[in-house]
Every structure is written in structure tokens, then in C-alpha cells.
């Protein structure tokens, strides 16, 4: 499909063609092809990507459940030998598979999808999907402290990429296939299409456009429909009654945000510190790293905290309904940070979304309960703090502020807590950004030796605008309706060499001193300046435009007028090549090419 379908399509039937009722199948096919130009085809393809990703994620979840039941039983209890034996042995199996069969599945699925988008022209090997499915299924099913969302995301992306390559769609569209599949995978895993769409837009693609958004939404929705069809529409948690009565309680949620931000930083720094060190160890140790992580998780579970195993959705559900005292919640949050850090840095395939939610939920419950001990008048239930806490870690650790808010709303189905969620998430995000400059996904990318665009940095970047490099409007502006000799007299007292000409009725032009004097000498002094200038109009800029947009003109024109958006004849200033390069030179310290 590198050539769009429309190029192969036959034109509209001529009057001689039989009526559609009597069309042969071949002609019917030909006329249908006209409908499927590449944009439409891509949208339809997005639905299929959603369907296939949804089917894959359903199978993936069944695989994890089946592994869990087969290896650990339906409800693991502390002090059972299986708790440390199973994840350790499973870790060995996973290590062999990762090192010998699926070497590309180490690392974050989000980053691999971004890499596919920005570096590999949308290419993600299908083997990655198979490897993620098998290895993450074994790892999470055996109790490693990781979640199924990131592998689901990558399975979706990988399926989409494989489909795109098979169909030979254009390179531009192929690049977008991976994010579209990623949205489908993530939506299916979370049963939350809006959050998935936002995450992919916010963290992977980094820009909004109707074409991309349409495809991402279609794939996410269709995958969620598939998952709900097969696995039911039950939410991940039984949502408790949530309350937010007094605005003064926002202070309590702000404290939760700060604590969550600090926990996010601790979590991110642990991973950032340990991951390169473990990767730097001799290769033979990599056979044992997942097993060691499994042993550690198993020992934590064996000693009394089986809640840290796996994704931990059941425990989050229990925390929401006040099943744990605040000390237990705090301990579980700390243990989960340790368990997830080791599981992830050991190279075991699996994601950090569910552990992030777990840590946030436990931390939220602990902070909420503790606050209520000191301030008994607080009306927020433990469940409310648990829900808000989930968003707090999402905002602080994954650094996706918009997704974090919508994720909580979508998971809880409760609009009432939006204000506490926004407040807490904002504090968490600000604390995390203040203490940990590089977001976790960018950190992992850099550790893997890739330089992918940091979307947070893009968001936060100070953009230079035309007004930053704009020079004041020149004192002498020539008028196209005046005679040449009158204009020549006007420039005699001016020191400038180039002058703007206000054209009639609109537009601008430019003329230099020599050109004007030559016109005068050629005896055209009795003609209007407008009549002797070339008809082409000078492009104009607006003060709020990015300075980059001025680069297109400054080489061709010595002066570019900057005009008011409400009145194009009102001159705000001018832009010249020197002023632009000077601004770039001072603002960004880049090499300014010498003027020619």
C-alpha cells in the first residue's frame, strides 16, 4: 500500500457503464477501491488493529491468570514455600528465553514504541510481541512485581507494526502504526480507552492532529470493546463511596501529592541507579538476575506480604475498602517499591503501570489514614485517598499529568474527586520534576543509548517568538502611492539602506537606497513608486509566531514586516536575518552561519 489506494482506483463510472445493479464483481471491487483512499483505509485499519490487539490482550490476560493459578494457586498465603520457589525458578526460565530467544524484549514497551516511531520507521519485530507475551506471562503469573499493561502496549504496537509492514502502507503511516497499536494494547489492558489515548498522545506521539487522534481513538475503543466482550465490563476495582465535602481538605490532598512526589522520585532514582549497574555486570549474571528478583519478591511474600506479588489489583481493591491499617499500607508501599525496582532492573519483562498504581494506592491510603488520626474532622474515606494516591504516583513517577487525572476518573467512574485528584497530582508532578529532572522513560531511553525526543522537555521548552527578535518599526516608511522623487527626497535624511514600502490597498514591499536612486536617475521620478515596483508582495509575520517561521524569509528578503493580526497595515516592527540569528545565538548558543 505504499501507493495509496486511490492511485489504483478507477475513476467514477462513465455514462456508458451499466447501472450498479448489474455490475460484475470485478467492477464492483474496482468502484469500492475508489472509496478507500489512504486516510480512510488507515482509519479502518485502526479498527482492525484494535480488534487484533484486543484479542491478543485477552489471551495475554488469560495466560497470566492461568500461570498464576497453576503456579501459586488462587489465593497465595504467606509462609508457603511456593512463594519464593516459583518466582525464582520462573525467573531462570525467563532469563534463558530473554537472553537466547527474545533478546529484544528487555526494557520498556513505551520506549520501544517511541523508538519505532522516531528511529525505526514504525518497525517493531513481531517476535517482540511473542516474546513479551510468553516471558511477561510467565514472570507476572509467577508473581514478579510487574504489571501486564506495558507488555500489552507493546504487543499491540508490535501487531500493528507487523500488519502495517504486511500491507506495505506508506512510511509516514507505518510510523504511526506502532502508537496506534500501543493505544489499543494499553486500553485493553486497563479497560480504559480515554487514559490509553491520552497516554499515547502525551507520552509517545506528543502531538495532536485529527488524523492521529482518530486512529488512536478508534483502535483504543475497538480493543476495549473486544476485551469487554470476552472478559466482561467489570471495572478493575470495586469503587468505594468517595467523598469530598470541604475545600479546606484540599490541603490534606496537597500533602498526599507532596509525599507521592517524593516517593516517585525515590522509586525513579532507585531504578535509575540500579539498572545500569546490573546491566554492567558480567553476562552470566543476567541468567540469575530475574531469579534473584523473584527470590526477593518471594521472600517478601513469604515473610508476610504476599500482596506485593504480581500486579496487585486485588490488594488495591482491599486497600480501597479499608482492609489495611495505615502502617500496613505504608509498609506495603515501601516493599512494593523495592520489589518492583528489583523485578524491573533485573530485565524481567513486565511493566510498571500496575506497580505504580499499587504504590500510589497504598501510599494514598496510609497518608489519608494518618492525616485522619491527627485531623479527625477530615471527611475523605480511605477509598478516596487510595484512588487519589493512584493518580499521584502516576503523575509523579510516569510524569503524565493529564493521563493521571483521567486515569483516576476513568477507573473510578467518579467525577466528584476530580478536584482532589488535580491538586494532589499537580503537587506530585511539581515535586517530582523539581527533584528528578529527567522523566523515567527518558532516563531508561538514555541508559539504553537512544536519544528519543523528550516530550516533557518539548512541553516545557521556552519557544522563541518573532517578537523576541523583532526590531522597532523604521522611522522612514515609503508609500507606494507617492511619486518616486518624493520618496527619494524622504530618504535623504535617513541613515538606513533598506526601506519598507506600504503598498496600496494592502501589503508590503521593500526597496533599497540604490534601487530608488536608480529609478530617479532613469527619469521615473514622476511615476508612483507602486507602479514601478514588482507586483509581488512581501510576506509578513505576526509577533506571536515561532521565530523558526521567520527563517523561511530572512534569506530572501532584507527586511520582513511584522504586522498586527487585527490590522495588517499596522507595522509592529521588522525582522532581519541579523536580528534572527543574533537572537538564536544569544538564546541557544548555536552556530550562526555567516551572512552572504
Amino acid at each position: 500500500m505504499s501507493n495509496s489506494a486511490s492511485t489504483n482506483a478507477s475513476p467514477v463510472p462513465s455514462p456508458q457503464t451499466p447501472s450498479p445493479r448489474f455490475q460484475t464483481p470485478r467492477r464492483l471491487f474496482s468502484s469500492l477501491e475508489g472509496v478507500f483512499h489512504e486516510e480512510v483505509f488507515f482509519l479502518i485499519l485502526s479498527v482492525f488493529i484494535g480488534i487484533f490487539s484486543g484479542l491478543a490482550v485477552v489471551c495475554f490476560r488469560l495466560a497470566i491468570d492461568w500461570m498464576h493459578l497453576a503456579l501459586l494457586g488462587p489465593l497465595p498465603q504467606a509462609h508457603s514455600w511456593r512463594l519464593f520457589a516459583v518466582p525464582s525458578l520462573a525467573g531462570l526460565v525467563v532469563a534463558v528465553l530473554v537472553l537466547h530467544v527474545f533478546p529484544g524484549i528487555r526494557g520498556s514497551g513505551v520506549n520501544q514504541t517511541k523508538a519505532a516511531l522516531y528511529i525505526f520507521n514504525g518497525f517493531i519485530p513481531f517476535r517482540t510481541a511473542v516474546g513479551k507475551f510468553l516471558c511477561a506471562g510467565i514472570a507476572i503469573g509467577s508473581g514478579q512485581s510487574l504489571g501486564p499493561e506495558d507488555p500489552s502496549l507493546q504487543i499491540g504496537a508490535s501487531i500493528a507494526s507487523a500488519l502495517g509492514r504486511q500491507l506495505e502502507i506508506s512510511r509516514e503511516k507505518l510510523r504511526l502504526m506502532a502508537p496506534v497499536g500501543a493505544a489499543a494494547g494499553l486500553a485493553a489492558a486497563f479497560n480504559a480507552p480515554i487514559s490509553a489515548v491520552l497516554f499515547v498522545i502525551e507520552e509517545v506521539i506528543g502531538r495532536w492532529s485529527a488524523g492521529i487522534l482518530g486512529s488512536v481513538v478508534l483502535s483504543a475503543v475497538s480493543s476495549v470493546v473486544i476485551v469487554r466482550w470476552f472478559l466482561g465490563s467489570e471495572p478493575l476495582f470495586r469503587i468505594p463511596v468517595t467523598t469530598f465535602k470541604r475545600p479546606t481538605e484540599l490541603l490534606a490532598y496537597a500533602v498526599l501529592g507532596i509525599v507521592g512526589g517524593l516517593a516517585s522520585v525515590a522509586f525513579a532514582k532507585s531504578i535509575g541507579y540500579l539498572r545500569p549497574r546490573l546491566k554492567a555486570l558480567p553476562r552470566w549474571t543476567q541468567y540469575f538476575q530475574p531469579a534473584f528478583a523473584g527470590l526477593l519478591v518471594g521472600l517478601i511474600a513469604f515473610l508476610g506480604a504476599p500482596q506485593v506479588m504480581g500486579a496487585g489489583y486485588d490488594s488495591m481493591d482491599q486497600a480501597m475498602h479499608g482492609q489495611f491499617a495505615w502502617k500496613v499500607l505504608a509498609i506495603l508501599a515501601v516493599l512494593k517499591i523495592i520489589a518492583t525496582t528489583f523485578s524491573f532492573v533485573s530485565g524481567t519483562p513486565g511493566g510498571m503501570f500496575a506497580p505504580t498504581l499499587f504504590i500510589g494506592a497504598m501510599l494514598g491510603g496510609a497518608v489519608g489514614d494518618l492525616e485522619r488520626i491527627f485531623f479527625p474532622h477530615l471527611t475523605g474515606s480511605t477509598g478516596t485517598y487510595v484512588l487519589v494516591g493512584m493518580g499521584v504516583l502516576f503523575a509523579g513517577f510516569l510524569r503524565v499529568p493529564m493521563t493521571s487525572v483521567f486515569m483516576v476518573l476513568e477507573v473510578s467512574g467518579n467525577y466528584e474527586i476530580i478536584v482532589p485528584v488535580i491538586v494532589a497530582n499537580t503537587f506530585s508532578y511539581l515535586v517530582s520534576r523539581g527533584l528528578q529532572t529527567v522523566p523515567i522513560f527518558d532516563l531508561l531511553t538514555r541508559q539504553d543509548g537512544l536519544i528519543l525526543p523528550s516530550l516533557e522537555e518539548d512541553r516545557e521548552e521556552v519557544i522563541l517568538r518573532v517578537e523576541d527578535a523583532m526590531l522597532p518599526a523604521p522611522a522612514t516608511i515609503l508609500n507606494a502611492q507617492d511619486y518616486v522623487d518624493a520618496n527619494a527626497r524622504r530618504i535623504q535624511d535617513s541613515a538606513d539602506s533598506t526601506f519598507l514600502v506600504r503598498m496600496h490597498p494592502t501589503g508590503w514591499n521593500v526597496i533599497n537606497r540604490d534601487q530608488l536612486q536608480r529609478l530617479f536617475q532613469e527619469g521615473k521620478g514622476e511615476l508612483t513608486l507602486g507602479s514601478v515596483l514588482r507586483a509581488q508582495s512581501l510576506p509578513s509575520l505576526y509577533p506571536d509566531l515561532p521565530l523558526d517561521s521567520a527563517l523561511r524569509y530572512v534569506n530572501d528578503y532584507p527586511l520582513v514586516p511584522v504586522v498586527n493580526r487585527a490590522n495588517s497595515r499596522q507595522l509592529e516592527g521588522v525582522i532581519s536575518r541579523d536580528s534572527v540569528f543574533k537572537k538564536y545565538g544569544s538564546g541557544r548558543a548555536i552556530e550562526v552561519p555567516s551572512s552572504t
Binding site: M1, N8, F48, L75, P125, E168, G322
Partner: protein, 409 residues
């Protein structure tokens, strides 16, 4: 090693979409088959765990049953029966922290089927555990008017009875009585139901209602000893001593070992024998009863004074002179204003009224019996407060006084 697939897909868009649709249908069927098998296995496993949980719950091992129900739910997360049983086990485990979890499961079920009577009843019991009258009443009512899978009338009646018992326990007597009214109108004809309703009426201190229910039982089973005893006690509590005597006598005759009924019967007999206001007695008998009561009141007053260490003679001597000219008609007014104890005051009043006993036979002294008995009643009430509940004739006089008081109000 790289994996690649041969590119077999044609370049025609409609063909591609047809093939994709075909692949989706095949994938749908395959995954559907897989999910169905997995779900069937899970459900079988869940059923085993559920049965184990039920056995544990029936044996009172709630912690084990909660674990088993949790495990069953991991196998079949949407099973309403498992959720309901888990919620019940959580509620019955007597751990206040688990009530929240129980409630959340039940709320989830309620949101799915708000008309489900069993869920509403379970929620009502959670609210009752919390002591919330408002929530409990709401959910009990939902249960009463909800959909029952079997035997709806009996279940509704049970739910209402449970609500009444809860309201009585919380001293919400007015609400309990209104529920009792509703219960009485919808009771089946079975004597057991009326017997239970009668007991609830009695607990709510609606003795007339209780008596009516006992009488309904006795119409069907005239020799039902429980109903006879209950009817007698209800009548006795309502101050209807003649009726009480009749039922209690029958109860004692039917069940010779019913000591409680016998004791109340004796009390009722005594009241009927000593009540001077009984309508079917002669003047002579009335005067005799008043004289006996008057003498009994003094004995009770003296005994109580001794018990509490009050010297009645000292105070009487000082007050007699003051009150010697006071007519007995003023016996109910607070003539005695000495600083002595209430018992001393009563002794003074009793002493002041004693000479009037002789005037009982005189015609025209129509207020005198009431005035004399007022002294007796005040003594009995005061000694009841000061020295504790009386027995025998004193108890009879006290009950007569209470009945008179209630009648006058």
C-alpha cells in the same frame, strides 16, 4: 535470527479488508473458544472453593470462609452468589473493619440489581451492625418490597420481624410499633406467626396489640399454653386483671409447671381481691378493703422507715399538733411542710387521715374512699422509690395505684 512473514496480502483495499475481517472472525472464534474453556475451568474451581467457604461459614470459621470465598471470586469474579456470601461472611466475622468491605461488595451487587431482596437484606444487616436506624430501615424496606427467589411472603414477613427486633433493640419504639401494625395486617394464619407477633407487640409494650395476637392464636389452638400465658401476662401488664386472671388460670391449668404464670396469677388474684374500686363489690366490702389497705400501708411505711433508718415517731409528734385541725379532705395537699424525710411526711399524713377511717360508713362521704386510698397509694409509691419493689399486697396496691394513675391521665 529474524522472523519475517511472506507477503501474501494482495494490494487491493477491498480484498485486504475482507481478509482482515475474515481473520478477525477467526480470531474472535478462537479466542471465544479459549475464553469459554478457561472460564468453565475457573467456574468449576470456583464452585469447589465456594462450597468449602460455605462449609466453613456454617461451622463459624469465618476467617477460613472469607479466604475461600475470596479465592472463589478470583476464579469467578462476577459471581453474585460468591460476592453475597463473602459479604455475609465478612459481616458475620465481627470485625468492624470488615464491614466496609462487606458493604462495598453488597453495594456493587445492589447497583447491579437494586431490586434484589437478598442483597437488600444483607445490606440492612450491615447497617444494623453499624447501628444506623435510617439505613437499616431503608434496606429492610427494600428487602420487604424487593424480589425474592422463593417463598416471598414468608421472607418478607421475616425481614419485617428482623427490622422490628432491630428497632426495639435501638429503643425506636414508635417506628417499631408502626412496623408491627403493618406486620399484623399481613400475617399468615399460622399460630406460630401470631405468637411471634404477639411477643413483639409485648416487647414494644403494646399490650393490647399483644393480647389481640394471643387471642388470634387461641382461636385456632385454645389450649396453647404459651398463648394462654402470654395473653394473661399481656392483660396483666395492661392492667386488665380480670382477663389476666382468666388466661393465667387457664395457662396454669394447662401447664402446671409454669411458675411465672402462677406467680402473676397470684398477684392478679390479690389485686382483684384487694382493689376497693372494683365495681362489683358492696360498700361494706369496699370499706373493708380500704381499711386493710390503710393498715398495710402503715406496715409498709414502718418497715421502709426502719430499713432506711428514719425515725417516724419523732417527726409525727411535732407535726400532729400542727395538723390536728386539718380535715382529711386535704390529705392530698402538701400540708406537711416540716423538714423531715418524705417518709415522715407520709407518716404524718397517714396519722392525720387515720381518724377518717371511722367516717367511711357515713353516708355522703363520697370523696373519702378516694382520699384515703390516695394516702395509701402515695405511701406505696414512695416506699417503692425509697426501699425497692414491694411484694404481696403492697405490690397489688402499687399496681392498683398505677392503673388508677394511668386511667386518670
Amino acid at each position: 535470527m529474524s522472523w519475517s512473514f511472506p507477503k501474501l496480502v494482495p494490494r487491493s483495499a477491498p480484498v485486504i479488508l475482507l481478509l482482515l475481517t475474515l481473520a478477525a472472525v477467526i480470531g474472535f472464534a478462537a479466542v471465544g473458544h479459549l475464553v469459554a474453556r478457561f472460564t468453565a475451568n475457573q467456574q468449576a474451581r470456583g464452585r469447589k472453593l465456594y462450597a468449602q467457604g460455605l462449609a466453613d461459614a456454617n461451622a463459624g470459621r469465618y476467617d477460613d470462609s472469607i479466604d475461600a470465598f475470596h479465592a472463589a471470586l478470583t476464579c469467578d469474579p462476577t459471581n453474585s452468589q460468591y460476592q453475597l456470601s463473602l459479604a455475609r461472611a465478612l459481616r458475620d466475622s465481627n470485625d468492624p473493619r470488615r464491614l466496609d468491605e462487606a458493604e462495598s461488595y453488597l453495594i456493587t451487587l445492589w447497583q447491579r440489581a437494586p431490586q434484589d431482596a437478598a442483597v437488600n437484606l444483607a445490606l440492612a444487616r450491615v447497617a444494623a451492625h453499624r447501628g444506623s436506624i435510617e439505613d437499616a430501615t431503608r434496606y429492610y424496606h427494600n428487602a420487604m418490597y424487593g424480589v425474592w427467589n422463593s417463598d416471598p411472603d414468608a421472607n418478607r414477613s421475616k425481614a419485617r420481624i428482623e427490622l422490628i427486633q432491630f428497632l426495639l433493640k435501638k429503643n425506636a419504639t414508635a417506628q417499631a410499633e408502626s412496623e408491627l401494625m403493618a406486620l399484623a395486617t399481613a400475617l399468615p394464619s399460622a399460630p406460630a406467626a401470631h405468637l411471634q407477633a404477639a411477643q413483639l407487640f409485648a416487647q414494644a409494650q403494646d399490650y393490647a396489640g399483644a393480647l389481640a395476637q394471643y387471642q388470634d392464636v387461641l382461636r385456632v389452638e385454645p389450649s396453647n399454653s404459651s398463648a394462654l400465658a402470654g395473653a394473661g401476662q399481656a392483660a396483666y401488664s395492661a392492667g386488665n386483671y380480670a382477663t389476666a386472671q382468666r388466661y393465667l388460670q387457664a395457662a396454669v391449668n394447662t401447664n402446671h409447671e409454669d411458675a411465672h404464670s402462677r406467680q402473676i396469677l397470684e398477684s392478679a388474684d390479690l389485686i382483684l381481691r384487694t382493689n376497693p374500686f372494683h365495681s362489683h363489690i358492696s360498700d361494706a366490702e369496699r370499706n373493708r378493703r380500704i381499711t386493710t389497705a390503710f393498715a398495710q400501708a402503715e406496715d409498709r411505711l414502718t418497715a421502709c422507715a426502719q430499713q432506711t433508718g428514719v425515725d417516724l415517731n419523732a417527726s409525727t409528734a411535732t407535726t400532729t399538733t400542727k395538723t390536728s385541725a386539718v380535715k382529711i379532705t386535704s390529705a392530698t395537699s402538701p400540708v406537711i411542710t416540716s423538714s423531715s424525710s418524705p417518709l415522715s411526711s407520709l407518716q404524718s399524713r397517714w396519722t392525720a387521715a387515720k381518724p377518717d377511717l371511722a367516717r367511711l360508713r357515713s353516708p355522703g362521704e363520697t370523696d373519702l374512699p378516694d382520699a384515703l386510698m390516695d394516702v395509701v397509694f402515695q405511701i406505696e409509691q414512695q416506699t417503692d422509690n425509697t426501699c425497692g419493689p414491694p411484694q404481696g399486697l403492697d405490690l397489688a396496691l402499687l399496681l392498683i395505684s398505677q392503673k388508677r394513675e394511668a386511667a386518670s391521665q
